[in-house]
């Protein structure tokens, strides 16, 4: 049985940070994302639960900070009915930023024809793209009438959990048809969210999102994945060196039940399918590999133990 992994973010100086990554590798943890910025570095990682204190101690010596990041390994779609330039800055931008601080990878999706009331609609392609994520955060506006009566049609056809944010704080989740959770106090504003009540509302949102993610993780744990997405990521790094030429900030993006590999499908899908594991298995035995709706990327969805009959 593999050790239980805990998600953490390390923020510290770039000097000697490789000591952390080396220790992490020795402990059997996974480095999910490394973001160097001038003399600082941010490491998003999964650490075996019993060994967290070792990394913490080393981090302290290096004058860095280790914080728990409960959303690590999730890919969130932050959907706004519109991302029109004359309405910038959108509150959806701040929502996405807050989710990233929790360790998540976010994709902003602005619907082509999502604005308005009667005229608002979503495209089949957009729905498929949103459905590739772990869950979707819909950022709606100020008016409860719109959120109750007109906007829920944008949630139709979305099969992943849907969290809705909006201005009115007296709305309940039941009032918004098709939504799994409604969080108020985050409506349309024409400035960056920086006042204390706005930041407080974002904290509440993050808290509730974490609850949803924990619940999803529990559901997955009942019938575990055939292989950990983080382990697949490690194998991709070792067996497909072309991944290091990808300039995207997260060349391999982890999801709760799979991953997105940011390499062209046509050229690389065979290599991903034939990824070998120590147990003598190939990735195609344990996962469904399809072209992603996002650009020309590869989408890997890992099968469950009940389907495959074993866990690697």
């Amino acid at each position: 049985m593999a050790a239980i992994l805990e998600p953490y973010i390390y923020e510290g100086g770039i000097h000697k940070h490789s000591l952390i990554t080396e220790l992490l590798e020795d402990l059997g943890g996974y480095l999910i994302q490394k973001v160097p910025a001038a003399t600082e570095v941010t490491l998003v990682m999964l650490i075996p639960r019993d060994d967290v204190h070792l990394i913490e101690e080393l981090g302290k010596k290096l004058l860095g900070k280790l914080t728990r990041a409960p959303l690590t390994g999730t890919e969130i779609a932050v959907v706004s009915p519109t991302l029109a330039s004359h309405h910038l800055p959108h509150s959806a931008c701040d929502i996405a930023e807050f989710m990233r601080r929790g360790g998540a990878n976010t994709n902003m999706i602005g619907l082509a024809r999502g604005m308005g009331r009667r005229v608002s609609l979503s495209d089949n392609y957009e729905r498929k793209l949103i459905n590739e994520h772990d869950f979707a955060l819909f950022s709606f506006g100020t008016f409860s009438d719109c959120i109750k009566n007109k906007k829920p049609k944008l949630l139709e056809g979305i099969t992943i959990p849907k969290i809705v944010t909006g201005g009115p704080c007296n709305l309940k989740t039941e009032d918004v048809a098709n939504a799994d959770l409604y969080v108020g106090n985050i409506g349309r504003v024409a400035h960056r969210l920086r006042k204390s009540d706005e930041l407080g509302a974002l904290d509440v949102l993050l808290e509730k999102v974490v609850e949803v993610v924990e619940k999803m993780r529990e559901d997955i744990a009942k019938d575990p994945l055939a292989v950990l997405p983080a382990r697949v990521m490690k194998e991709i790094h070792e067996q497909i060196p072309d991944i290091f030429n990808v300039l995207s900030p997260a060349p391999v993006t982890l999801q709760l039940d799979g991953l997105r590999v940011k390499l062209p499908y046509g050229e690389f899908h065979k290599k991903v399918e034939n990824l070998e594991f120590d147990e003598g298995l190939k990735l195609s035995d344990m996962a469904v590999i399809t072209p992603s709706k996002m650009k020309n990327y590869i989408l890997v969805k890992i099968k469950r133990e009940s389907e495959v009959g074993f866990t690697a």
């Binding site: 309405h87 506006g141 008016f143 409860s144 009115p168 409506g187 024409a190």
Partner: protein, 198 residues
């Protein structure tokens, strides 16, 4: 009339009106319209997909001529130069654009921050022309900023729009459905009420 002496935003639900007021005030700040608007009333009725806005502007500023922001005189007579000394730097970039367009970049020099030298053909007539040249027209930029404000403040998707600008009265109505004549009338009524205040 004081700046923003009346600032009303109404909606069917009172709290939503207050939230929308913060959006409108952010946009006014961003477009630096605070000093130009005297009274403003916005009504949003989401159930009818209706947005109405009435604005009374404060007295508009006159056009800015070159003689208002600096002096124009003869420079070196042999070289047929015209010398412009700027006292208000605020309009320098607009002035340079105009001079470049008229004389070409090779004939306009800026030996130091507030001085411009132009190689002119006929110094006397050029000096006469330059003194009366309009450098900036606050009324025109104000109008374009007002339109920008109306577009930004409208809920996204309300693409059917009506506007009317009559000296210092601005009326704007937007919806996603064809506009009803009574909505436009209501907006005009709003602007009249604003005028009659106090």
């Amino acid at each position: 009339m004081e700046a923003l002496e009346t600032f009303i935003v109404e909606s069917t639900v009172q709290e939503e009106g207050e939230a929308y007021r913060s959006i409108v005030s952010d946009i006014i700040t961003e477009l630096i319209l605070g000093g130009a608007i005297g009274r403003i009333k916005v009504v949003v009725r989401p159930e009818d997909s209706l947005f109405q806005m009435a604005i009374i502007l404060r007295g508009s500023q006159p056009m800015v001529k070159l003689s208002d922001i600096g002096s124009v005189e003869t420079g070196n007579i042999v070289k047929k130069e015209v010398k412009i000394s700027i006292t208000e730097e605020k309009y320098l970039s607009e002035l340079l654009e105009l001079l470049w367009a008229r004389y070409g970049r090779t004939k306009v020099f800026q030996p130091e921050r507030n001085t411009l030298i132009i190689n002119a053909e006929d110094t006397d007539s050029d000096i006469k022309f330059l003194k009366d040249m309009v450098v900036a027209d606050p009324r025109r930029t104000l109008q374009s900023r007002l339109v920008e404000m109306a577009i930004r403040a409208t809920p996204e998707g309300f693409r059917v729009r009506y506007h009317s600008m009559d000296s210092h009265k601005f009326v704007f109505v937007a919806s996603e459905d064809p506009l009803k004549p009574e909505w436009i009338q209501e907006a005009h009524q709003m602007v009249t009420e604003l005028m009659e205040e106090k």
